[in-house]
Structure formats: structure tokens, C-alpha cells
């Protein structure tokens, strides 16, 4: 605790008080916290929908909610989680906060635009929230036509508009990151000295800027058809329903990399710091991010293998999908190799990083399964696909996000979280996660279709296991919520660099001053050169 005698050092949190100092701030750190608050709300909203879904699926009959409600639940779960949690989660919170600090900048290139992008997310979120409260939407987060344009009588337009608006938030964040990385690096911070977190955010930003406009156009077309009956997708109006799928996935496949690349960036930081070694194959990991960003635009058709897309198109998309897998594999191997002859600490963030690598490996390998045409025909639109993407997005992205939050918590708040509780929650999340989603692979292979309110009896055992896992998982997610808040007041005061990390964000006090650095740092070493922060060198092993 701070003693009364020492006047508190000025930092970004105590330099101004009051609601206005937050809502009108242009400080990337405060904006990062505004995002943190917002996406956390959406995470718990999406989580509430998921809870109801899992309760319903305890029994084969539909006896907890009606079919109509069930369809709205899984739709709103997907919309809240994908568009208002996973896409902004890492870049807009931790990226916003740390990307400028890691390259030695005082802020992002366009601080006002940064604030604007938070408002856009909030306005978009409110639109979608309004749609949920007014009656909900039941098309699935994928909005397939002509169901969404002609047949559904739920709040499609309000929801889609919310996504449309929040898309601009994503575009502006990406733009800000790109310009910041190009223009605002501290002296000596060459491209090949940038932390891998920055590289992966740079790759993500490219996707945000190039991909998101396509989904905006798609939503406008959907709007035109639903409201003005202009035939684009509905065949009775002369349109083509599969065209929508092409446009939707042209954005949404790259969007899955918007969700995973920043997570990979966090894991690179964690693996390095807690092994006290540079990431093995630094350049390969950096270029792998760029390769993923580019190749990710070429594989959207793997979501359309049974959609009546031509056989030859399917062959090409299957082939190209395997190319994306290679850079992901390269990363996993390099992280693992980083451990070799390292000095490995089992601090909570590292446990999350291990969890990420394990679950991402399973998610990525099952990505190879579904990219194999003959296999995918059987499992597409079943729980197998549901399991695949949850392994990556929940097992991967959320694990990394939590790892990152623990790692940077001392920097953000100036307080340590309680280590024992944190380790326990990481373990609970890992076990709960596997119990929830592993049975879904089996369910899917057995033929259980996704988005089913009522299902045949023989699938019940696996659904019960999955629901049991979900309750464990929920406990795991609530724990950090509680002890993070607790630590704000009671946590141990954090030093400037509690982990012995090399990043520039650790070379300034915790919490950082308003302009991040009292003097502009001059960079003379590669990222992850631990000899600059740890005294003596000893041979390990």
C-alpha cells in the first residue's frame, strides 16, 4: 500500500478524474481500458446466451426454451462473441494499450480516431443489443440468404447494422495501427527489432483494413434486398443465395485470423519472457504472421464445400487451405523450441501460454481435417466444426487473452493479481474447456447437426458431458473477474518490471505516465535480449 508520506507519482490513471476524463480521453491507454470494459460486458452477455444453450441441450427434447428462442440464443451468442468480443478483444484492448508502448511511441498515430473507433463499437453494440432486447434475431451469426433476407421475421436489419457500424471501428483501429507502426517507432526500433506482438498486430491490421469493407458491402446488399426487395441473393427475385456465402466468407475467413493473430502475438511474448530467451526463429514467426494474413484471403471457399460450389473450385480451396496451415505450424514448433535450454517459469501467464499452444494445436490439426474434402462433406454443419472453431477461438484466443491480461495487469494497474488463485483458474479453464468441447468432436462425427434445438436420444450422453464441462468453464472464467477487481485495491504493488521482461513497456513505471515514457527510449538491442535486464549470464542445463 502507498504510504501517506510519499506523494503518488503521476500516471495515466490519476492525472485526471471524473467521467469526462474517460469519455473524452485521447490517451490510448485509457481507450484500451474503455474497450476492456466494453468487450468484457459482451463476453458475459455472450456467455449468458451460451449457458442457456447448454442447459437446453441437457435433454434431447426441447423443454427449456422454445425452438424460436433457441435459434435466437445461438445467433445472439455468435454475434456477441464474434463481432463484439473476439474481433475487438485483443487488438482494441491490449493492442491499443501496448502496441504504442512496445515501439516506444507516446500514443497511436491518430488519438482522436482511436477514441472515435471506441464510440463506433459502442454504437454498433447498442444497435445489436437493442435488436436482442427488442426480440432477438434468429438467422445464425452467418446470416445465410434467402432465410435472412426473405423468410426470417426477426430483427435482422438492426443486428446487421450494428455489425456494419462496429466494422468501421475495426477498420479505424487497423488503420491506426498500420500508420503507427510505420511512422512512430522510436529511434533504433527497426522492423526486425519489433516485438512479435507488434508484428502480429500489424498483420491483423492489414486484414482489418482490407477485409472489413467487404462485409460492409455485403450487409448493404442484404439491407437492399430485405428492405427494398432488390434481387441479389433471393432466387425468386432473380438473385443467387450462394453469392452471399462467397461474400460473407471472403471477409469472415480472414476475420478468423483477426481473432487468432493477436493471440499468437501474446503467446510469443509470454513464451519468450517466461523462458528468458528470444523466440526461436524470430524472423520465421514474424513472417508467418504476414503469410497468414495474405493466404487467409485465398481460402474462403472451404466453408462452401457442399454449397453447390463447383467441384473444381472446391479442389482449389481445399488445396490452398493447407498452405495457411503451414505458417501456423511453424509458429507452434518455434514456440516449443524456445523452451529448449531456457529458464522456464511457471507463472500464470506462462500456464495460459502452454494452454494456448496445446489447444491451438488441436484446433489447427482439426482444421486440417475439415480442409480435406471427403472428410468435410460428412462433418460440415455438424458439431465437429463447432468443436474445431471453439478449440481455436476459445481454447486459443481466450486463453491467450487471459494470459496477456495477467501478464500486463501489473503494468496496467500497478498491482499484482493473486498468483495462487490465478494458477487455479488457469487449470480449471483448461480442464473445463476440454470437457466442454472434446465431446463435440465425437458428436459431430456421429452426425449430430449444429443449430439443433431437439436431437435424437443417442447423442444425450455427450451433450451432458459438454454441459458439465461448460459449468466448470464458467467457474474458471468468473474467478479472474473477481480477483482482478479484488487486486485493484488489495493486490501487491507492482514494480516497473516484475517479470524481467525486455519490452519497452516494462522500462517505464507501472502504471505508466501519461506520455508513456519520461524520455523517448533509444533502442540498441534486438527484442528479447535478456542480457539487458538480467544481471549475470549462467549456463542452464
Amino acid at each position: 500500500m502507498i504510504t501517506a508520506a510519499v506523494p503518488e507519482r503521476e500516471n495515466y490513471l490519476n492525472n485526471a478524474y471524473g467521467i469526462k476524463s474517460w469519455l473524452l480521453t485521447r490517451d490510448h491507454k485509457r481507450i484500451g481500458l474503455l474497450y476492456l470494459f466494453t468487450v468484457t460486458l459482451f463476453f458475459f452477455l455472450g456467455g449468458a446466451f451460451a449457458t442457456m444453450i447448454r442447459i437446453e441441450l441437457l435433454t434431447p427434447q426441447g423443454n427449456f426454451v422454445s425452438s424460436e428462442t433457441y435459434n435466437k440464443l445461438f445467433t445472439m451468442h455468435g454475434v456477441a462473441m464474434i463481432f463484439f468480443f473476439l474481433i475487438p478483444a485483443i487488438p482494441a484492448t491490449l493492442g491499443n494499450f501496448f502496441l504504442p508502448m512496445m515501439i516506444g511511441a507516446r500514443d497511436l498515430a491518430f488519438p482522436r480516431i482511436n477514441l472515435l473507433s471506441w464510440y463506433l463499437l459502442v454504437i454498433g453494440g447498442l444497435f445489436s443489443l437493442f435488436a436482442m432486447l427488442a426480440g432477438g434475431v434468429d438467422t445464425g451469426w452467418t446470416f445465410y440468404t434467402p432465410y435472412s433476407t426473405t423468410y426470417s421475421n426477426s430483427w435482422v436489419i438492426a443486428t446487421a447494422l450494428g455489425i456494419f457500424i462496429s466494422g468501421f471501428s475495426s477498420i479505424l483501429t487497423g488503420l491506426n495501427f498500420i500508420v503507427t507502426v510505420h511512422r512512430m517507432r522510436a529511434p533504433g526500433m527497426t522492423w526486425m527489432r519489433m516485438p512479435l506482438f507488434v508484428w502480429s498486430h500489424y498483420a491483423t491490421a492489414l486484414i482489418q483494413v482490407l477485409g472489413t469493407p467487404v462485409v460492409a458491402v455485403t450487409i448493404i446488399l442484404l439491407f437492399c434486398e430485405r428492405v427494398f426487395h432488390i434481387g441479389i441473393f433471393d432466387p425468386t427475385l432473380g438473385g443467387d443465395p450462394v453469392l452471399f456465402q462467397h461474400m460473407f466468407w471472403f471477409y469472415s475467413h480472414p476475420a478468423v485470423y483477426i481473432m487468432i493473430l493477436p493471440a499468437m502475438g501474446i503467446v510469443s511474448e509470454l513464451v519468450s519472457v517466461f523462458s528468458r530467451k528470444p523466440v526461436f526463429g524470430y524472423q520465421f514467426v514474424a513472417y508467418a504472421s504476414m503469410a497468414i494474413a495474405v493466404l487467409g484471403f485465398l481460402v474462403w471457399g472451404h466453408h462452401l464445400f457442399v454449397s453447390t460450389q463447383s467441384v473444381y473450385a472446391a479442389l482449389v480451396f481445399s488445396f490452398l487451405s493447407y498452405f495457411v496451415a503451414i505458417p501456423s505450424a511453424i509458429k507452434v514448433f518455434n514456440w516449443t523450441a524456445t523452451l529448449y535450454k531456457g529458464s522456464i517459469s511457471f507463472a500464470t501467464p506462462m500456464l495460459y501460454a502452454f494452454g494456448f499452444i496445446g489447444l491451438f494445436t488441436i484446433g489447427g490439426l482439426t482444421g486440417l481435417f475439415v480442409a480435406a474434402l471427403g472428410f468435410d462433406v460428412h462433418v460440415t454443419d455438424t458439431y465437429f466444426v463447432v468443436a474445431h472453431f471453439h478449440y481455436i477461438m476459445v481454447g486459443g484466443t481466450i486463453m491467450a487473452y487471459l494470459g496477456g491480461l495477467h501478464y500486463w495487469w501489473p503494468k496496467i494497474t500497478g498491482r499484482m493479481y493473486p498468483e495462487g488463485w490465478a494458477k487455479l483458474s488457469a487449470l480449471i479453464i483448461f480442464l473445463g474447456f476440454n470437457l466442454t468441447f472434446f465431446p463435440q468432436f465425437i458428436l459431430g462425427y456421429l452426425g449430430m447437426p449444429r443449430r439443433y434445438h431437439v436431437y435424437p436420444d443417442e447423442f444425450q450422453v455427450l451433450h451432458v458431458l459438454s454441459t458439465a464441462g461448460a459449468s466448470v468453464l464458467a467457474v474458471g472464467y468468473l474467478m479472474p473477474m473477481i480477483y482482478f477487481i479484488w487486486s485493484l485495491r488489495y493486490g501487491k504493488v507492482a514494480s516497473a518490471n516484475p517479470w524481467g521482461a525486455t519490452g519497452l513497456e516494462w522500462q517505464t513505471p507501472s502504471p505508466p505516465p501519461v506520455h508513456n515514457f519520461d524520455v523517448t527510449p533509444i533502442v540498441t538491442h534486438d527484442a528479447y535480449d535478456y542480457s539487458t535486464v538480467i544481471g549475470q549470464e549462467v549456463e542452464v542445463g
Binding site: A371, L373, G374
Partner: protein
Amino acid sequence: MGKFPLFPEQASTFAPDVDHLTYFLLAVAVFFTVLIFCSIFYLAIRYRRRSDGELPHVPHGGLALEIVWSVIPFGITMVMFTWGASVFFNESRPPNNAMPLYVVAKQWMWKIEHMEGQREINELHIPLGRAVRLTMASEDVIHSFYVPAFRVKQDVVPGKYSTIWFQPTKPGKYHLFCAEFCGTRHSGMIGWVYVMQPRDYQNWLSGGAPAGTLAESGEKLFTDLACSNCHKADGTGRCPSLEGLFGKTVQLANGAKIVADEPYIRESILHPAAKIVAGYLPVMPTFQGLVTEDGVLQLIEYIKSLGPKPIVGGGGALGK
């Protein structure tokens, strides 16, 4: 709660093909998962931090290693690609002698039409051992025809025909699911596929009292909708004769040539102006809204019955 299987039943010729591919994928996945998990466990414990101030020695990068762990996985994925593609290719090539059947999907039911005139709802009876080819249409939104025991699935998209084929290998009763979300009662759009011994199937066929074969129903529609007023058998009407049309190459007014297959005939009925036969005027009215997808299928069967030539090979079962 019932039994607790880990693999679904194998009831078509595709099922073992897909399952073998699955075994291979599983073997690769288990190998790499175990490799990564064990490496992490071993390395993390072996090199755990022993004192706070220790600073490990930095090894030099390994270009050779990077190449090895890029090229080997790439080779393995290419096996996955080729294997998956070859299974898929078979799934998309129905044999010429496949028994044709029609499926019309609508919110929220499956309607099946047999050539002999039998109609079923949410049930599909087929003989054991005979390849079956379904031509599928949707009355409203996208549905997807899925029989897990056969390992096949195909979306049914409004506005076009899609096809799927399979050859059942085991008598029994199997789930039929709609796999593409199609609205409120999506999970109720399910049914059963009955694979019967050929003799039982013959009995089943003769058991019902159909109102005539599919082609006969089509002929009746052809007169009821007054198609026959223009399309005269001898070609004297304002419109081309439909005798022997099916499977023939048609010369269009815009110079293109097209084979008269099911999608072409469907389009000619619902969007007559889209493709005009050379030498005729675009005078035919659209029948959209006047004839259901079932009706269109019956008309197609009738037109087929006028011509000797069935289309062989017939496009991709898994897409066009």
C-alpha cells in the same frame, strides 16, 4: 440415454472410404498432439527456472530445423489433400446406372418422389446395393440433405438443382437430417432412410397406390397448364417440339449451344426468357408461381419420357 458409440454406422460404399481417411487424419493428429504435449512437458520441467537471476545462453537459429518442420508437415498435408479430394471426386460422380429419385425440400419437411409415382414425406425407401441419385430442389430457403450413416451431405439451394448419390450397403433404418439452418423448426426437419432388401423394396413399391408414374403426372400437368397448346409434338406450334429434347444439344438464339438437362428445362419453365431457342420468339410466359418445384420435376420426367436419351454421367453430384 441409449448406447454410446464412437463411430457412426457404415451403411454406404462411401462410409468406409471416409472412415479410412479419418483414421489417417486421426493418426497424424494424435502423433503431432502427443509430440507437442510431450515436448512441452519435458522441456518445461527439464529447464525449469532454478534461480531468479539465471540467464540462459542463447543458441543460434536453425535454418535447417525451420525447413524440416515446414517441409515435412507440408508433405503430410498434401497427402491429406489428395486423399480427401479423391474421396470427394467419387462422391461427385454418380454412376450411369444410378436409380434416379427426386427430392423437394421445404420448411420443414423432405418430400421424396419416386419414378414409379410413390411419394413419401420424411421417409426414403431404397433398395440395398443399388446406386441412387437424388436430384434436389428447394421451395424456400437453403436446406441440406444429410445421412450420417452414408457420410454424404449436399445443400439444397432454392433456384437450382443439386444432386447427390450413394450406394447403400447395409439394410436398416438411418437418420436423415437437414444440416443447413433453415428456420424455426430446423431440428424437426428430420426423417428416416430405409434400406431394404431388393425384394422387399419391390413389394413396398407395389404396395402403395400411386396416382400414376411421375411422368404420367407430368403429362397431366402438361395439358392442365396448357403447355401442350404451343409445344406440339410435330413442331407445328409457335414453340419448339419437345419430342426427343432431353439430352440433345440445343442451338440458342444468341449463338450458344447448350445440352438440354434438368436445370435447363427447369429454367425454361420458370425463366423462359433466359435462353431462347434459335428460330423462335420469346413468347413463352413464365410459370413461376403457377407450378411448384414438385410440378417442375414431374414435367421434367414427362419431357424425359418423350425422348430416348438419358444424360449419362450427369454433372457433379456435389455441385454444379
